[in-house]
């Protein structure tokens, strides 16, 4: 089923990575002054920007306010120039709505919403350049942005995708590997190992699920290490500036 050229004889993938290797990740926290929290991430050629406002008073319909916890409101959009062909509608299509819903579920699991009753937390993410793994980049950027806003979370949320080449699981699947069968997306709380979201886009044999899940989990933990370094660098930088 899977195309044989996904993995070369030497065990390398089309873009030169080894099966468990991630694409290069670069991230930065606190890119905007106006927002409560913001972050930018690059995973390979996928670039995402996340902005967090809140917790603040309910805007719009006040009836949506939850008496015991905060409402997490997510919006996902793709810049018109983010794909090879210019997009007509930057947001509001069905796919965007679905992704926003997934983001909301992911972050409701991670944010300690019960600390902010009757308020609202807005998470806006935008894809500036789409090159596979949009959801993952959004989750990772939003994690950093929420942290930048000082909103309490159980843990980081790290998301990564995995595919399969024959029996070898491939971490952080690139769009060229789209032919390579089913795609698994995992959002993980790495310290506790809890799964915030798991998405499987095609049929997969039960026996292979374990391996794919394990590969995605490994990738999430590797990503956690990268994001953690970004956060700590930022912490050090700001505490040094603030002094005592």
């Amino acid at each position: 089923m899977a195309a044989p050229e996904l993995l070369s004889d030497e065990g390398y993938r089309a873009d030169g990575r080894r099966p468990a290797e991630l694409r290069k990740v670069r991230a930065r926290m606190g890119v905007f002054a106006q927002a409560d929290g913001s972050a930018y991430i690059e995973q390979g050629n996928t670039k995402a920007l996340a902005v967090v406002y809140g917790p603040h008073e309910m805007r719009g319909s006040r009836s949506k306010a939850l008496p015991d916890r905060a409402l997490v409101n997510c919006q996902y959009s793709m810049a018109t120039f983010s794909t090879g062909e210019r997009r007509r509608r930057p947001h509001g299509d069905r796919q965007a709505g679905e992704l926003a819903l997934h983001l909301k579920q992911t972050f409701e699991a991670a944010i300690l919403t019960h600390l902010y009753p009757r308020s609202q937390i807005d998470i806006y993410v935008q894809i500036l350049q789409a090159d596979g793994g949009n959801y993952c980049a959004c989750v990772n950027a939003a994690t950093l942005a929420v942290m930048d806003a000082g909103i309490p979370m159980r843990d980081y949320v790290c998301a990564c995708s995995a595919g399969l080449a024959e029996d070898t699981p491939l971490a952080d699947r690139s769009p060229e590997e789209a032919a390579g069968g089913p795609r698994l997306v995992l959002a993980l709380l790495p310290a506790s190992g809890q799964i915030a979201l798991l998405q499987l886009s095609a049929r997969l044999h039960q026996e292979r699920l374990e391996a794919a899940l394990e590969a995605a989990g490994q990738a999430c933990r590797a990503l956690h290490a990268v994001l953690d370094r970004v956060v700590r660098d930022r912490l050090r930088e700001v505490t040094a500036l603030l002094g005592d």
Binding site: D36, G54, P55, H56, E57, L112, Y116, P117, R118, S119, M147, D148, A149, G150, I151, P152, M153, R154, D155, Y156, L189, P190, A191, S192, D228, V231, R232, D233, R234, L235, R236, E237, V238, T239, A240, L241, L242, G243, D244
Partner: protein, 416 residues
């Protein structure tokens, strides 16, 4: 056509190991990190307990008070405390109350009964008062108020039962992080430069022309709509830019720091304050922890100093000094003191705190240099507010060796 200035991207400096000046390494944590597995501790803000482990929920520094463990996030929204001075914006007029946006997690409330009626009348609020609420304050108005109480969900109740508080008229609002506003006895300052500021504990800063006389009759709910003269508007804009410059360097805001920055910015055009700061100081951002302002004039005089390659300028005005020996009298217009960054910071800190500076200077690595006292400029130019002469301190950066040059210069300009 308007001239456009562009800034070339500058490589970010790598952050070295945590350089906390006192008390050694700070315990920095990120969400999910286990702080302690000891069950004898109490759970404070920014932490939660899972399987008998105390785990951080925000990224920040751990603070321990006896058995209580908290994690203080770098920035959060405003958490109200009784007695705080806040500046806020009316978002809604409801029955018997206004809703006020104060950068808090929920909108604050200002009850009709917790404000002064015009004319200072004391009586129960009637239905007519309720109908006239929008005449006092309507949506979009800015007010200054004091926190009366904090509800269990974190919402804040305000009061304006003093002539100090009430509606704000003409001025400029700057929004900063609440953690950068220093808690002080008073947050209303009439600065000697000709404008006043309200430093709201919630990070809203209001800069306005100093009123000639307080209007007793109005009860704080009428505003003066006379045109503000250009000179005052310039002072206000300069103060605004100074505050923004201080905030970008993560420096605490209080009357003295703002005033020092203002005085140091005087040789420059208002619009250049931020530009210069961006152009010159971004490379020094990590190293410059004291109060600073850039000054091309000062930089040019410093360039006469041999061996100094790059510099960001610090201006610490009005240093009080125990000895009367000044650099100027000694025949030079600068003193070069090598010291590490932390002692520079401490010196600046102590001079802000009103302590005697000058004890921390000297260089351990170069004992041949005399441990000079903090210097002061010549002359007895009294700043109207902080008696004492001026001097400028420059931080010098030479690769890995961090040293600091202190540069004294008699400020010829009138302090005010």
């Amino acid at each position: 056509m308007a001239a456009i200035t562009m800034r070339l991207p500058v490589a970010r400096k790598a952050v070295g190991p945590s350089a906390s000046s006192r008390g050694g390494e700070k315990h920095l944590v990120a969400p999910g990190d286990t702080i302690t597995t000891d069950t004898g501790y109490m759970r404070g803000h920014g932490t939660y307990v899972d399987e008998e482990k105390l785990i951080a929920s925000v990224a920040g520094a751990v603070e321990r008070v006896n058995k209580l463990v908290c994690v203080k996030a770098l920035k959060t929204r405003y958490n109200g405390e009784v007695g705080d001075i806040v500046v806020g914006r009316i978002t809604e007029v409801q029955q018997k109350r206004w809703k006020v946006e104060t950068n808090s997690r929920l909108d604050s409330v200002l009850l009709l009964s917790s404000m002064n009626l015009p004319g200072g009348e004391l009586r129960r609020r009637s239905a007519e008062d309720e109908l006239a609420m929008r005449d006092y304050l309507q949506e979009g108005d800015l007010i200054s108020a004091e926190v009366q109480s904090v509800f269990s969900d974190g919402a804040v109740s305000l009061h304006t039962r003093s002539l100090k508080y009430g509606k704000l008229g003409q001025g400029v609002l700057v929004q900063v992080s609440p953690s950068l506003v220093k808690r002080q006895k008073t947050h209303f300052h009439d600065l000697p430069c000709g404008a006043s500021v309200i430093l709201g504990n919630n990070g809203f800063i209001w800069i306005y022309p100093t009123p000639e006389q307080k209007d007793e009759e109005a009860g704080g709910f009428t505003t003066n709509l006379e045109p503000v003269p250009l000179s005052e508007r310039e002072v206000i804009s300069r103060l605004r830019n100074c505050i923004v410059a201080l905030v970008t360097q993560k420096l605490m805001l209080f009357d003295t720091s703002i005033l020092y920055c203002y005085e140091a910015s005087l040789p420059h055009q208002i619009k250049d304050i931020l530009k210069l700061e961006l152009l010159l100081l971004i490379p020094f951002k990590q190293d410059l922890t004291c109060l600073f302002t850039v000054s091309s004039v000062q930089s040019s005089s410093v360039s006469r100093l041999p061996g100094i390659v790059h510099r960001g300028a610090l201006n610490i005005a009005s240093l009080q000094h125990p000895t009367e020996r000044s650099a100027h009298e000694a025949g030079s217009d600068f003193i070069h003191i090598c010291m590490d960054r932390n002692s520079a910071k401490r010196a600046a800190h102590s001079c802000f705190m009103g302590q005697q500076p000058g004890k921390v200077l000297g260089d351990q690595r170069r004992p041949s240099l005399p441990a000079l006292h903090f210097i002061k400029g010549a002359g007895k130019k009294e700043s109207s507010r902080h008696g004492g002469p001026h001097c400028n301190v420059f931080v010098e950066h030479e690769g890995p060796k961090k040293s600091c040059a202190v540069f004294s210069k008699d400020t010829e300009r009138d302090p005010m």
